[in-house]
Subunit: 189 residues, 2 copies
Amino acid sequence: MTESLEHFFTNKFTCTTDEISEVVKHFKYVEASKGEVLIEDGNVCRYLYFVIKGCLKANFIDANGQETIRYVAFENQLISSIHSFINQTSSNEYITVVEPSKLLAISYTDFKLELSKSSLFKDFYIKMLEITYLNNHWRIETFLRLDAKQRYDYLLKNDKRLVQRLSNKNLSHFLGITQESLSRIKAKK
Amino acid sequence: MTESLEHFFTNKFTCTTDEISEVVKHFKYVEASKGEVLIEDGNVCRYLYFVIKGCLKANFIDANGQETIRYVAFENQLISSIHSFINQTSSNEYITVVEPSKLLAISYTDFKLELSKSSLFKDFYIKMLEITYLNNHWRIETFLRLDAKQRYDYLLKNDKRLVQRLSNKNLSHFLGITQESLSRIKAKK
DNA sequence: CAAAAACATTGACAAATGATAAATAAAATC
DNA sequence: GATTTTATTTATCATTTGTCAATGTTTTTG
């Protein structure tokens, strides 16, 4: 069950298989069905998830019930309500299951323990934050530079999975526009 | 000259003054005048800057000469073209001086050396990435949830310095709108 | 499989934002 | 301090995007 996470580690670090299994053993296998809410707005996020198979989203829902999507994780990606997880404070976003998923989850307690014990784990955390940074960077850049149609085209070119595997509704909430606008953008092509 | 960086460390970590000076000694004092370009689009970013006094921006300029601003650093904040600095690859953004500034700069060479030697420095880097994460997070959130006027009001409420110390032009480029739109938003108040 | 619910598309209209241009105002430069 | 450049505001008009409503299409569920 943990092969893909082990693979994730071997890809990103120079370390022995013993070191990897030392870290990976703290992750527990979980299955989650579509629509399941893993972390609720207002609660403290106690887990960091690695996606073996499936798809999760980090999303907000505002006072009018309007949804927006900050981040989407597919296979071999990590997801958490990072702010809440890091500081063990109340989360302002949800983590929701988009496709039936197989996951590996590590609790904050284990995470923190490993972080203080293992130098490799510290490197893992740094790598995770760096990957997250790159992701956030292009997100901000596309919002600053591009209008809705251009953002859609950007995804088509650079992250096709989002267009292919998300519903129009989810994709529009990821792009920060309405379903209707996305429908029109796709029709115009 | 290094007092404020030392203070930055003492605020964020539990460490001795010896440990701090060990890290801080790698930062070199630099002065920079308004309009100066510290890192150019297309070049590799070799420095990470800490702002003692003044203001820097991380900005893009597109093919039509249109500017957008990803991030603004005031006193006691760090700034770099992080993507480029981390991987020593070509930067897709500029770092430009907004107000005459007093800075502390660390080179990538020293940064990497410290990172491999010092556990405190690793913690410093983790903290830096976490702070950066929080900043990127609210940026993405405001782009997703809010229109231009609401984003302006958000800054007024949560980060007034940006409204007070940036020119309208810079502020509009930070908000991802035109100067004219910002003028109208301010007039409507 | 049928009914219900959720999702997707389309049209009409309103509101927000961008583009362009012109007129002041402010700042930088000599 | 006068001149030049840059920034700001205001107006007009075009375009994009949002809102609301109607309809058709899928998906879910019993």
